[in-house]
Symmetry: C2
Subunit: 316 residues, 2 copies
């Protein structure tokens, strides 16, 4: 029987911060993260899963605080040697980080699912929380710009999210399936909340929601679905959320975030500083301190989000 109480939808760094907060304030095994794999790509012949790995490293406490991605105490001998061989070095893979990619690629080639491999990895990292790829099928985020249709990492890393976004596509989503593990955690009798982390809604959460049947599966348990807004004062803490909203002709506001998620949400956590701004219509909000600088910030926001969800559940 699943001990999962909270399911969190998360992408990269911003989402992983709240996931860590939830991981720390909940009992061991009570958190399951559904992680975006729309950024996954094959690079140098290796299967790279940026958001899964960021979540893994963050929950294990071995993420690099300076970079925001990759591992702490990393070495870079491989990249230097690869550069000398004329290999592609625009996507930085640290020596320790490489172990994940090589071993994941090897195991995928033997027919193991990404879900099974990541479940083994998180156990080996000593993480009690579950770590679930949004799907074991390939769903590839593609960014349409005025000049080209770009693979996600080309847009995000190679071109540093500079090109104007006209549209975002999740190739393969319509035929993708959720995993058995995902159905299992959403069927947990202890489930009390589903949290949409403050990841980029367009690039990190939307691909998750695009997996066939996943959005409906999130509503099925009947527990509150609460998002934490990625905006503070109409700006993203990090990353191109606000820039993309402007490019898509959407106002960078909590109202727009609420409208974007629509019926999925039962509530939205916004930053205290946005209390006085125009609030979403017809959606409960809870103001909290959403800028997560310290570990305390992460835990406090996690608690506030869970309290809000519990409040919504009692009210329902």
């Amino acid at each position: 029987m699943s001990a999962v109480e909270v399911v969190a939808l998360t992408g990269g760094i911003g989402g992983a911060k709240l996931a860590l907060g939830l991981h720390r304030v909940l009992p061991p095994g009570a958190l399951a993260c559904i992680v975006n794999t729309g950024d996954d790509f094959v690079h140098l012949g290796l299967h790279v899963s940026p958001d899964l790995d960021t979540t893994l490293y963050t929950l294990a406490g071995c993420e690099s605080p300076e970079q925001g991605w990759g591992r702490r105490d990393e070495t870079w001998t491989f990249m230097r040697a690869l550069g000398e061989l004329g290999g592609e070095t625009w996507f930085r893979l640290g020596d320790g980080d490489l172990a994940l990619h090589v071993e994941r690629t090897r195991r995928l080639a033997t027919g193991e699912t990404l879900s099974a491999i990541m479940d083994d990895f998180r156990r080996r990292f000593g993480i009690a929380s579950r770590l679930l790829p949004m799907s074991d099928d390939t769903v590839a985020t593609r960014v349409h710009t005025p000049d080209a249709e770009l693979a996600f990492q080309d847009y995000f890393v190679r071109f540093r999210a500079a090109p104007e976004v006209r549209a975002i596509e999740f190739a393969g989503a319509s035929t993708s399936r959720t995993s058995v593990a995902l159905a299992e955690v959403l069927g947990s009798s202890r489930l009390r909340a589903i949290v949409v982390c403050p990841s980029n809604p367009y690039l990190s959460i939307d691909p998750i929601l695009a997996v066939r049947g996943l959005a409906a599966a999130l509503r099925a348990p009947g527990v509150p679905v609460v998002a934490v807004s990625p905006l503070i004062g109409g700006r993203a803490v990090k990353g191109p959320t606000a820039k993309i909203m402007r490019e898509l002709g959407i106002e960078a506001s909590n109202r727009a975030i609420a409208a974007h998620y629509g019926d999925l949400l039962d509530g939205l956590v916004i930053d205290e500083s946005d209390r006085s701004a125009e609030l979403p219509q017809g959606l409960p909000t809870r103001a909290s301190h959403t800028l997560m600088k310290s570990l305390d910030d992460r835990e406090m926001l996690a608690r506030a989000t869970l309290e809000f969800a519990d409040h919504l559940r009692r009210r329902a």
Copy 2:
């Protein structure tokens, strides 16, 4: 037109020492090494070519003098991280070394030949000498022991060459082909000698000679073929040559080495200390200092071997 004057057949560390001597005493571009790929294997999903890489690193001057294999100034972050993931760590791959394997694997998957990839690599390492895989086809050395038929690296690295050798097989040899580049260097109008380096005859040189048509191609140019014996006083400097000879019921002697290579050879370079031992019948020998400790030793042995070959050519 090929500027190649000398073709050297070589395997791992011992052979690479003489190859380096030849590389240093010959004009740039005058040496071509035909390298054993019978030890190549797919490990962690990566195409590893131990002897090609040892030759590459040695000629580039970036080999690890302590280990005898791999790169100088190597880091080991990948292996540590792989071990933490439960990956296979019996075959040690350094972080810098890994760049060769990842990039080679990636390029092979695009359809490039091993010959073309290694030719690019040696240029990028600034090596004027040619570096030719014995074949672009898979030829796998397999070691028959009383208990099992072992893949080469299992025998050599995992079991440290401890099992008794009953027979050695080169799977795929009968259908393998020599490369265009190999035919080109053997067709060089400047060719003056073919040198069989003091690598293990059974494990490193025999796979080369087993490639279909290769042994005949070595005789075709009509230049002297001279081997440097891997034995000194009936013992190998390093590695299991003498042990394997005993296990195969062969006396560990220069006579047996000469008999093993048979008609291929026009001469055998033996160690000075073996002058008084029984010499091969009907095969010219030249005594020299064959223990290569210093760079000077390597160059002196290279010069002595070439002088011997030139002497045989004039006499012919």
